[in-house]
Assembly symmetry: C2
Homo-oligomer: 175 residues x 2
């Protein structure tokens, strides 16, 4: 069975994955001791992480780059030398996905950013989509979905609600 490409991301109800200035402060409203919203279980289903360059730089800058035990690929259009714990992939994201899917393994987690997700959606490469909606309208910021894609039908899988007001929805792409 081909390894699936999965997007698993948090957003405001108006569809922003970060506020102005890449601010992720809105995520704190859902912080609750002992509640990870299924993240640890999700991480067991994947063994590879792909990231856009801007997201990777942000994670480094915030000192929160950490995917223990996972293969990490950062998609970039510059030829850069890989460093410990990750590899740069210079080229079209669909080529990376094709290479990864030739090998056996668990699912492939695209952890953003919006630009990489958009590229994968445009190429119809995303298999599953989980969005954790925080109960807030940010009003501005970085939108999860950019415009100018073809229509994609989805299959609703589940909607989980949490007492913090977080709503986690899960869909499969119908291809």
């Amino acid at each position: 069975m081909t390894r699936k490409v999965v997007v698993y991301i948090a957003a405001s109800l108006d569809g922003y994955i970060a506020g102005e200035g890449d601010d992720l402060g809105f995520l704190e409203m859902a912080t609750k001791e002992g509640e990870d919203y299924g993240y640890a279980d999700f991480m067991k289903t994947i063994d590879t992480v792909i990231l856009g360059r801007r997201t990777f730089d942000w994670l480094l800058r915030m000192n929160v780059f950490a995917y223990p035990g996972k293969e990490v690929y950062v998609v970039t259009n510059q030829n850069l030398e890989s460093i410990e714990g990750m590899q740069y992939f210079c080229g079209e994201p669909q080529k990376l996905i094709a290479q990864l899917q030739e090998k056996p393994g668990r699912n492939i987690f695209c952890d953003g950013g919006a630009s990489l997700i958009h590229s994968l959606l445009c190429e119809n490469l995303v298999d599953e989509l989980t969005i954790s909606y925080l109960p807030v309208l940010l009003g501005k910021g970085i939108p999860l979905f950019s415009s100018d894609r073809e229509k994609t039908l989805l299959q609703f899988v589940s909607a989980k609600t949490f007492d913090t007001g977080l709503l986690q929805i899960h869909y499969k792409m119908l291809k």
Copy 2:
């Protein structure tokens, strides 16, 4: 108790309330005999409908303008004569809301479009928000949420799922 302003609207999962060319064809995927997704019950909670001018013209053109037994106001910036079944309101939407809220009555339903919803959100005039997400990414069209608003905290009320794949979520605005 002040009459609430409620937005009750359908959208694609990527946040479009209409596809290219104002196309609402995507709503048909949720059409099911005997299933109105709570619309009739919702309509009992309101006695007034407010619409943007463009939405009103579209409803007329499609021959689907019908809010039996409701007071209907169309917000416009032109001084136009009202016709049977509706009244034009020339001015800022917040003035209309203020006028309506001075009178007793049931809730006030903003049935779009995106531009009027945006104006009401900017003025912090929306009290409740119900979105029925269809299981599709449209990829382009008219977005429900425009950018450039202030942050608004929400209170999660409910998420209802239907076997057509429609997901209906309901939030209250925290003011």
